[in-house]
């Protein structure tokens, strides 16, 4: 009984505000993997690092959606000193994003042999 209550205490704060189970699409997984692996990246860098598995025309929409889900946070880089264009936006994974990725990877790792059989 004590063990269950402790488990509940640990799980409760992790649940997202709307009560839904966090999900990850293939693109979101790839983005989180890259960001966890390489640290802060720009949108275009993500496209390049993914070896074109991410598309330049859709990556910014996906990044905004992941921010809404709470998987990423972003910040604008300092404005360029030479007034050479808009400041770029850097993306980094949040603790929730890291947890969801690790849970998702674990589930995928456990299910893959079942599916392959």
């Amino acid at each position: 009984m004590v063990d269950i209550s402790l488990t509940l205490c640990k799980i409760d704060p992790m649940a997202p505000a709307d009560g839904r189970i966090p999900t990850l699409s293939a693109k979101e997984t790839l983005i989180l993997e890259l960001l966890v692996d390489r640290g802060e990246l720009y949108g275009l860098q993500l496209v390049t690092e993914s070896k074109r598995r991410l598309k330049r025309g859709t990556v910014y929409v996906t990044l905004a959606r992941m921010e809404d889900k709470g998987y990423l946070r972003s910040r604008r880089e300092d404005p360029p000193s030479d007034a050479g264009g808009l400041p770029r936006r850097l993306y980094a994974p949040t603790p929730l994003g890291r947890r969801v990725l690790s849970a998702w990877t674990e589930v995928a790792r456990r299910l893959t042999p079942e599916l392959a059989r």
Binding site: Y42, G57, Y60, G85, L86, R88
Partner: protein
């Protein structure tokens, strides 16, 4: 100095919300400008290619944002006023879809029972029967959907305006089907039933409006008015059934504004529909004369629509409610 992407950003700012600009468009443009600057020493061709890729990404992103914004807008539009419009659309679509299936199944089974069509042709046969059912299904489905959908909802001016817009769109959908789609699918159906060999000659219902008009002009010039009847009937019946969703929808909207008794108003529309079909059947299978009680055939065909328009106006006048002009 204008940097690449500045004009695109100004263009996007006209249409996109501030949040979309900050979180989606600005990062894209910033990366585009940085990429362009870093490609300055890579040669003109390479720089142009990278710039083009950036522009293509911009338009793709803007399309996605526009699609998302419009779908959100449609959802909000449908759910406004206690889901009055959403319910109207849902009920009208369901009733119309059911009627389409029913009206397509009747001739389908009639042909299948004759064993003149091979089983592998059944799918195509059913498909080509769908367009002929759509105008009538819309004319019946829309008013019933309006009556059921608006049940218990307050008839605000915005609700009436939106329902009126749905009626206009339904008529706009029915018209090209009657004018161009129906003749082609009718002919395809006839060819499928006739089998291999020489395709059957096109009848009145297999001609477009333009072809019907020219055929009528030729017959009129040749002084053969007795042969004009099927062409005249097809021309006016198809035009009248294109207009029917709008006229019937308007009638149902007025009825829903006048009475809160859905069962009574639904019964009125169903009874009117039965009379409409009876009238059409009488014209098709009647005595074949060009006039009835001194009324020429076109007037006879348009009579149900005319009666519905009159009834709509009568309802407005008797209840003293707002006229169509004030719906907007």
């Amino acid at each position: 100095m204008t940097r690449p992407g500045d004009r695109l950003r100004a263009f996007a700012r006209r249409f996109c919300a501030a949040d979309t600009m900050t979180r989606i468009v600005d990062p894209l443009i910033a990366d585009l400008q940085h990429d362009d600057a870093s490609a300055a020493n890579s040669g003109r061709a390479c720089r142009a290619r990278r710039r083009l890729a950036g522009y293509a990404a911009f338009w793709t992103t803007l399309t996605i944002c526009a699609t998302r914004a419009s779908s959100t807008g449609v959802r909000r539009w449908a759910s406004a006023d206690d889901h009055a419009i959403g319910r109207t659309l849902a009920f009208s679509s369901m009733i119309a879809a059911g009627l389409v299936v029913l009206l397509a199944l009747l001739p389908f089974y009639a042909v299948v029972n004759t064993n003149r069509v091979a089983p592998h042709e059944f799918g195509r046969l059913f498909l080509v029967l769908i367009p002929q059912a759509i105008p009538l299904a819309l004319a019946f489905g829309l008013p019933l959907g309006i009556l059921v959908g608006l049940r218990g909802r307050s008839m605000k001016r915005r609700v009436r305006r939106n329902v009126l817009a749905i009626c206009v769109v339904s008529a706009a959908v029915a018209f090209p089907i009657c004018a161009w789609v129906l003749p082609e699918t009718n002919q395809a159906f006839r060819e499928a039933v006739a089998g291999r060999g020489r395709p059957p000659l096109r009848g009145a219902n297999e001609l477009s409006f333009q072809e019907l008009r020219s055929r009528l002009a030729v017959l009129n010039a040749a002084g053969r008015p007795d042969e004009m009847r099927p062409y005249l009937y097809s021309y006016h019946a198809r035009l009248a059934s294109s207009a029917a969703p709008f006229i019937w929808g308007l009638f149902a909207l007025t009825l829903a504004s006048v009475t809160r008794r859905t069962l009574l108003s639904t019964a009125i529309v169903v009874a009117a529909g039965v009379c409409y079909i009876a009238c059409a059947t009488f014209i098709i299978n009647g005595n074949g004369a060009d006039t009835f009680a001194g009324m020429p055939l076109p007037y006879l065909i348009w009579m149900p629509n005319g009666l519905f328009t009159l009834m709509t106006f009568a309802l407005w006048m008797t209840t003293g409610r707002s006229a169509p002009a004030s719906l907007g």
